[in-house]
């Protein structure tokens, strides 16, 4: 099992131990406090993830074949989601990020309690990360 899958299993179990939807949300808010804030100078238009109802900024980098991500949002629950994604993907090989199958949201029912627009927004965030990783796997090979 690769590292992303291991981490995902660990995080999923942590969430499932939290209890009901309120406790899972409360845990996301706690995790939000652990997400390093994005410096104001990085909250630029080109880092905004389009399609999100909240403001979400992503700073994505490829460094020595590894995926690096910083992110921020103006809502704590989405910051918590960003924290989870960062835990899963930051410092991982680009190819692993590009090919990762995310199950944490469906297995913990976190996604089900978000309204449709928000689900779409989180989907955009994940897609953007994986698209970036895939593009940079290719350019590394070139």
């Amino acid at each position: 099992m690769d590292e992303i899958e291991n981490l995902q299993r660990e995080l999923t179990e942590e969430f499932l131990e939290m209890g009901d939807g309120f406790d899972q949300y409360a845990y996301l808010i706690e995790l939000a406090a652990l997400l390093p804030p994005l410096p104001p100078e990085k909250k630029t238009e080109d880092r905004v993830v389009k399609g999100c109802q909240s403001h979400v900024w992503l700073d994505l980098r490829a460094e020595d074949g590894l995926f690096r991500v910083e992110g921020d949002s103006d809502t704590f629950i989405i910051k918590g989601v960003l924290y989870l994604l960062r835990r899963l993907f930051d410092g991982q090989p680009l190819a692993a990020v590009a090919g990762a199958k995310l199950t944490i949201f469906s297995e913990t029912e976190i996604m089900a309690t978000f309204e449709a627009d928000r689900q779409k927004g989180i989907g955009y965030v994940v897609k953007e990360m994986q698209r970036f990783a895939a593009e940079h796997v290719i350019s590394n090979k070139e």
Partner: protein
């Protein structure tokens, strides 16, 4: 008024459970629930009387027409209008304001004229006037708010002295719950030669309305904020204004004679009712008015008590910042939890079964006046209970105690 537990039996949705917990529905400023009497009236219309109105001569059509026109008369009586021809059925307050704004653009406003509205308005009573002014070259003037969240009446007087063509003002703020003293504004506007449109969308569960006593020129409201279905609303207009204004939507149902070159308009109110109305919605509106009438004036005291209790619950919690402190509030009160974005607060409350609204509430200028982009809003209705409000308080305490929430 009947006791609240008996009333709640008329609202089956209130017994629902959400996320495994009893639903505590406190988003009534957005939309109210419908009692079974309204649901049955709507269902019966579709089941037994479905037919288009005003055109057919068969029995079903005549029955449907009679039912709609009965609601028109009932609505006129309910708000104190002189005649039912002054009641135009629309899809809601938004369409009503847009109708007047568009008609003013086409028939009244010229470059250099002035329209006055306020910083307190819902976007539906602000943006149509911005557009009307943009189209005609008229100027939009905006009455500012005081720090307490009331209209600055001195500023209003100054703006009215510019002799605007119209004043558009809300009776009750959908965010702050501020009840505006519209009577002196209407008098001052008329003295300045201005017509007055009152947005009564948030008013009608909280106070009797008498449009002739108010002497407003237009008044609008939405059915779904007073127990009726969505997609139906009312524009009241004084006959002389409705006769003067041009129609803004054209087609079947609003014409008299039509050639390939031109058309003439039908009499009031049909001139403003192109196409087929929301017939079942109108029937539901009538049932809702009947239900509110049956509750009696005790309804207004009940709504006021619940809001007072809500505000007290919010104010006694030091982590909460309540927006505004108007001398009279009705229907809604907004606040923030220090250190927690409003969206997160609403999601957490939702997980505890509590339905409130978060965001800018279609009143971005008002929120920004308080230095905010979003807020939480609680809006109880007569079918809520004191116990539910206590549970709101307990839910807020649980949220405020969560680790991970800063001090703002």
């Amino acid at each position: 008024m009947r006791d609240v537990q008996t009333i709640r039996e008329d609202f089956p949705i209130l017994s629902r459970r959400v996320h495994g917990r009893p639903l505590i529905y406190l988003d009534n400023a957005a939309t109210t629930q419908m009692p079974v009497q309204v649901l049955q009236a709507v269902e019966e219309q579709y089941r037994l009387y479905q037919a288009n109105i005003h055109r057919g001569v068969h029995w079903l059509s005549e029955q449907s027409t009679a039912r709609v026109e009965a609601v028109r008369r009932q609505t006129a009586e309910w708000i104190g209008a002189k005649e039912s021809a002054e009641i135009v059925f629309t899809s809601g307050a938004t369409e009503s304001v847009n109708l007047v704004a568009r008609a003013f653009s086409d028939g009244v406003l010229s470059a250099g004229d002035t329209v006055v509205t306020t910083e307190m308005e819902h976007h539906s009573n602000l943006v149509p006037w911005q557009e009307a002014c943009r189209r005609t070259g008229a100027k939009l003037r905006v009455v500012p708010l005081t720090p307490r969240g009331e209209l600055d009446m001195e500023a209003a007087a100054r703006l009215l002295s510019e002799r605007p063509k119209l004043l558009a003002v809300t009776a009750v703020s959908n965010v702050l719950g501020t009840v505006n003293q519209v009577e002196p504004l209407i008098r001052a506007a008329h003295e300045a030669g201005a017509a007055v449109l009152i947005d009564a969308a948030q008013l009608l569960r909280h106070s009797r309305v008498d449009v002739r006593a108010l002497d407003c020129d237009f008044l609008c409201f939405s059915g779904h904020k007073m127990l009726a279905p969505t997609g139906v609303g009312v524009l009241y207009g004084k006959r002389e204004w409705l006769e003067r204004l041009p129609p803004v939507v054209f087609g079947g149902g609003m014409v008299d004679e039509v050639t390939t070159e031109r058309a003439s308009w039908d009499a009031l109110p049909f001139k403003f009712e192109a196409g087929t109305r929301n017939i079942a919605g109108i029937v539901g509106l009538g049932a809702a008015i009947g239900y509110l009438n049956e509750l009696g004036d005790g309804l207004y005291a009940r709504e006021a008590e619940l809001l007072e209790q809500t505000e007290a619950i919010l104010r006694e919690r030091t982590r909460l910042d309540v927006l505004g402190a108007p001398s009279t509030r009705a229907g809604a009160v907004s606040f923030n939890i220090r250190g927690l974005p409003a969206y997160d607060g609403a999601k957490l409350l939702d997980q505890l079964g509590v339905a409130v609204r978060s965001g800018h509430h279609c009143a971005q200028p008002l929120l920004r006046r308080f230095g905010l982009e979003s807020a939480l809003r609680v809006s109880p209705a007569f079918y809520n209970t004191e116990e539910e409000l206590c549970m709101l308080g307990a839910a807020l305490d649980r949220i405020a105690a969560l680790p991970g929430i800063g001090n703002g």
